[in-house]
């Protein structure tokens, strides 16, 4: 069992930092301590929920189910938690996998969105859209536009740019061709750009 009660908070052992409090919490949960289990939920469910919410908005009906899946998966894998990273980061990495599972299922199930052949009509580039807007305003605007895009476009862009996945990786995960994913991304970028260039 990786989790045990022997470490103090952020003790450095060799070159490895150990998050002792988190490791102790994990060990208590593995010992089926109900109060420790409650603490895990209380300490970490808000951050996991926000993470999942931002990646699924505006289609939020799945958020609670995915958050629940994250905690069930975490509980199932807790014996492998080594304390090398904070529990918070460990849970978010599980959340990332769960969100990507959702993306994979969604894009994999919408071949009609992905597999449209033909020339993509994309408006000619205009002035640099970033210039003239301060960073905070354009981040806010980008978030609003993502929420207005067709869902498949929004998750394609998030998967590509937030999770830093290549079109090839997305294609392999969703069972589509790389070309289909590139077309989807091109359409999503074009729609994003069109909305971006609309007067605010």
């Amino acid at each position: 069992m990786a989790a045990n009660l022997q470490h103090t908070p952020q003790e450095v052992i060799g070159q490895e930092r150990i998050f002792g409090d988190d490791l102790a919490l994990a060990a208590a949960i593995l010992a089926r301590d109900r109060k420790a289990t409650a603490r895990l939920v209380e300490l970490h469910s808000d951050a996991v929920h926000r993470y999942v919410w931002r990646r699924l908005t505006p289609r939020l009906e799945m958020v609670d189910d995915i958050v629940q899946e994250v905690f069930l998966a975490a509980w199932g894998g807790l014996k492998n938690y080594s304390g090398a990273a904070p529990l918070h980061s460990w849970l978010l990495s599980i959340a990332r996998h769960k969100v990507e599972d959702h993306y994979r299922r969604t894009l994999g199930a919408h071949a009609d969105v992905l597999d449209v052949d033909g020339e993509i009509e994309i408006p000619a580039p205009s002035a640099d859209p970033v210039l003239g807007l301060d960073a905070k305003r354009h981040a806010k605007r980008a978030a609003e536009i993502l929420a207005r895009l067709p869902y498949e476009y929004a998750i394609a862009l998030r998967w590509r740019y937030w999770e830093d996945r290549s079109a090839k990786e997305m294609a392999e995960a969703s069972g589509r061709t790389e070309k289909a994913i590139e077309r989807l991304l091109a359409r999503a970028r074009a729609r994003f750009k069109a909305l971006w260039e609309e007067p605010a």
Binding site: A38, D46, D128, A147
Partner: protein, 114 residues
């Protein structure tokens, strides 16, 4: 065809900060937290007896009024059962957002912010 520089570099730049700027609620609902907790405890019970309440209390944890009563019993078998399974606080917590549960030491009351 769209200028490739805009397609990738500008898009990356524009979206980089969009995650933090995406409005999200402050956290999970109390009902969701309650449901997750109940489910985890159910799974733990399937694996074996829960940690006995007197040991939990000895470790410095606060027990709710019902758990305190059970912890006084001499039977480890009873102490290792899930008292929440038969408690109205669990039912309320799972079904009512920020339910009026005020028992000190009750996890469902904690999830409700009380």
């Amino acid at each position: 065809m769209m200028d490739e520089t805009f397609s990738n570099v500008a898009m990356q730049h524009i979206l980089r900060e969009a995650e933090a700027a995406t409005d999200a609620p402050a956290g999970a609902s109390s009902r969701l937290k309650s449901r997750i907790f109940s489910q985890l405890i159910e799974l733990e019970q399937q694996q074996g007896p829960l940690r006995v309440l007197s040991a939990i209390r000895a470790a410095g944890e606060k027990l709710c009024i019902f758990e305190t009563a059970v912890a006084a019993l001499p039977s480890d078998d009873l102490q290792s059962r899930n008292a929440c399974a038969v408690c109205h606080a669990r039912i309320l917590g799972e079904r009512v957002e920020r339910a009026p549960i005020f028992w000190p030491g009750c996890p469902y009351a904690t999830f409700c912010g009380h």
